[in-house]
Amino acid sequence: MKRTGVFVCHCGINIAGTVDVKKAAKELSKHKGVVHSEDYVYMCSDPGQNLILDAIKEKKLDNVVIACCSPTLHETTFRNASKSAGLNEFQCEIANIREQCSWVHKDMDKATEKAIKITKSAVEKVRRNESLEPISIPVTRRALVIGGGIAGIQSALDLANTGYEVILVERSPSIGGHMIQLSETFPTLDCSQCILTPKMVEVSKHSNIKLMTSSEIQEISGYVGNFKAKILKKPTYVDADKCTLCDECTKVCPVVVSNEFDLGLTGRRAIYIPFPQAIPATYTLDISACPGLLPIACGKCADVCEPGAIDFDMKPEIIEEEVGAIIVASGFDLYEKEMMGEYGYGKYPDVLDGLQFERLLSASGPTMGKVLRPSDHKEPKEVVFIQCAGSRDPELHCPYCSKICCMYTAKHAMLYKHHVHDGQAYIFYIDIRSGGKGYEEFVQRAVEEDGVLYLRGKVSKIFEEKGKIKVWGVDTLAGKDIEIDADMVVLATAMRPSEGAEELAKKLKIALDKDGFLSEAHPKLRPVESVTSGMFLAGAAQAPKDIPEAVAQASGAAAKAIAILSQERLFHAPTVAKVNVNLCTGCGMCVDVCPYDSLSLKDGKVEVNEVLCEGCGTCSATCLRAAIQIRNLTPLQVSEMIKVSLGG
């Protein structure tokens, strides 16, 4: 019979104040197979741990139970102690008699009785634990970064500069993300393009980075250290190596469509370059706008292309890559126009969203940096900025704060004043959230130096009248109605997870939070990891954030990925599913329920990929014939735990 040792911790008076630890130790000493039972004031202290060590050696214990605080606190401590005495770490179990007992009860007799049951339950469990060693997995020492915005770029560069190969996948024809659309950045007012383009160039030139634009993730399989990615590379019909950026093709292209880079404020041709600094620096053919290739309906661009860069026969390719870690930086989109009908967005041309206004401010934008109304190209003299357009509105829109709008609205108002010196900027706001280095000062500067008028309150109605946009609102501080005849309205629309994020999350098996952003493993302590091991989150895909935060998280994600890639082998918890082949009939119900695709059928029996299995045990509860169970939390263990928990 296995020899078990029980150690009851007083935790000072934290446990001993409510649980009669002497009695508990004595009762446990009577339990079948318990050959050693003692109590001590602080088991986690060095002398406490030494008691365990000595007892294991002297009494030849096969396993130990420490009745103490929650396993989240000292399970590792005591498992390490047991290990140093020669036991397998799984021969040590924790009975939580503090958080789940002494701290929540007052009646000493009853608390003691309960503590005894909890401890016996742990004894019954540990006596049936298998000695297991962590599962070792080799690592493919390359990384995949999904998304070529600032976060993705930063992660890719950090990884590449550390010496690891990176595959950077971006679905649009150029990297740069939303940051490349911005004019200047708060709070320093650096030119966004000026600070981003060098990084983009670095990406394109970096020998460790394989850049795949116009590409999408099709399928991800595998597990930490050993992912397989299927990437769909869509044809651009232009050979980037041959394209000389001569621009002859656009001149002959008969099609004009709305230019997404300028958010529809300008147009572009079917063959186009997304923006002058695009990386990769090449033109691309937008097949959805082109009159057609099957058969070739126009073909003028190819006719004029001297280097012969245009290749209508380009086909979609599926490229498979093996990587050890994945960083998801799929970014954000602005809240859909259609959703903001109440502010006239989409209805009146001079009601703009934040990004459109950025384009108006940008020197490379549709107005060459002049603030002009889209409707009549006149300089607006009164501009109303509305914060929280779609954010912080749990009833109608998004319940969360989009975080960056307070700052960029201040920036917009400020930059507007820099462009239109005699103009007046109004900002409707709920609160000003300007936490961040230099942020509060920035907002103050907008008010004090640029005379921006902050109005605390909500806009109730916006409508067009005689070429003006009438804005009705309330100033809740002054308690009076406000009516502004604005020339332009700029909405600080909410940030949403980028389009397709949900689909991508499904492919990656990453959970989404209630707002559709990618879920981090822990909101405080693991903000960069996803729940799937080996996959990390960066940038606005996880939650709204500004550039410095996105960059910080991107570097964090890169560091986390490096922590995996820098190892030759990884170790995985061995408490995974195990199949009793004799009982398995191959019905596949466990395969259906496994959240990690760790189960598969082979020759009519189920097989476990131990590396993918996280040990949740849903398979074992689903199996009708007990043919699959989790190591060290088997139905037998649970049934014995039930028995002693009920005093039997």
């Binding site: 009939t585 019905c587 259906d592 007990a626 037998l636």
Partner: protein, 343 residues
């Protein structure tokens, strides 16, 4: 109406041409009207086949035996087995396919339609005949039953002597088959869970008294489990009776066996057995009613399984045995599954 001669001819052809290795059907037995399963290999033996309202068995149960036998053979005959299935039985077949227990290629399905009728309840018949003994019973064109007794022929309305489950039938003709005999007559059961009504209207304590009385009768002969095509597990988790130990079962696997229910036929153990069986049949039971028919103590087991069939339909809009590709009831979920019972 299924013509028995057609059935025999089809069976004869299949055997003669060697399409199937044998045919599982019904033949007359020696215990009164109860037929016995027929395993027919020779074409000339098809004459033994019968088809009448006494053909209650769910013959798909014998595919479980066939699978075990085949697995133990060194050079198995890979031809399919022919099996005669009614509508209800075909749904069992669908579940067996869904759970990959059998391959579609391993069975040749001779479907028979019950049309407007079904199979009889022997006890109801005995009551109707008031002591007279039935010698023969047949379907008629108008879906009544003609019963031959020592006093001659009498025609009895099918409704009077049909098995309860046939009155609540969801598939009066096979949902899957290779050949179909009889017509696909649509029949709508107006009360698919009618037999539950009376019982559900009882109070909690009345229900408890009822079930305690019923399950206390159980002698754990396991006929309910043995006759059930869904209870194809080599070892039943609910009891310690049939440990599936093989030469390569490890000591650790043996040590992991749990007595969820003791062998003693007492209330607590009988309840564990029957509750586990009921919950394991949830989303799998197709209401062939065989468990209830074979119970020597007349425990109304259908009431347990039917209840969970009803809950699966009402809570999760899940119906059993129509689509071999649908995921099982408990290995799937919908976001909108009810959770009003959760705190």
């Amino acid at each position: 109406m299924v013509n028995l001669e057609d059935l025999k001819n089809e069976a004869h052809k299949l055997l003669k041409e060697g399409t199937v290795k044998y045919i599982i059907g019904y033949e007359r037995g020696t215990n009164g009207l109860l037929p016995i399963p027929a395993f027919i290999k020779n074409p000339e033996d098809v004459e033994r086949l019968i088809w009448d309202p006494t053909c209650v068995f769910n013959l798909t149960r014998f595919l479980v035996d066939e699978k075990r036998r085949k697995a133990s053979e060194k050079e198995p005959d890979e031809r399919p087995v022919g099996v005669i299935v009614k509508g209800c039985d075909s749904r069992a077949l669908v579940v067996l396919l869904q759970e990959k227990f059998i391959n579609r290629d391993d069975v040749y399905i001779l479907g028979v339609s019950c049309e407007e009728a079904g199979v009889l309840d022997e006890k109801k018949l005995a009551k109707t005949l008031k002591g007279k003994k039935a010698k023969n019973i047949e379907f008629t064109k108008n879906d009544n039953f003609v019963v031959m007794t020592e006093d001659g022929k009498t025609e009895i309305s099918a409704k009077e002597i049909l098995a309860e489950r046939c009155l609540e039938c969801k598939a009066n003709f096979p949902v899957i088959y290779d050949i179909l005999l009889g017509e696909k007559v649509k029949r709508k059961s107006d009360k698919p869970f009618g037999s539950l009504e009376k019982f559900e209207s009882l109070s909690k304590e009345e229900r408890w008294t009822f079930w305690k009385e019923q399950l206390d009768k159980c002698i754990r002969c396991y006929a309910c489990r043995s006759v059930c095509p869904m209870c194809y597990c080599d070892e039943c988790v609910a009891d310690t009776i049939n440990f599936a130990v093989t030469a390569d079962t490890t000591a650790e696997e043996k040590a992991q066996k749990i007595k969820w229910a003791e062998k003693s036929p007492v209330t607590s153990e009988n309840f564990v057995y029957h509750l586990v069986r009921a919950i394991h049949l949830a989303g799998r039971c197709i209401d062939c009613g065989e468990c209830e028919r074979v119970c020597p103590l007349d425990i109304p087991l259908r009431l347990l399984n039917k209840k969970l069939e009803k809950e699966a339909k009402e809570l999760f809009d899940y119906e059993v045995g129509f689509d071999p590709d649908q995921p099982s009831l408990v290995s799937s979920f919908k976001d909108e599954d009810p959770e009003d019972f959760i705190r």
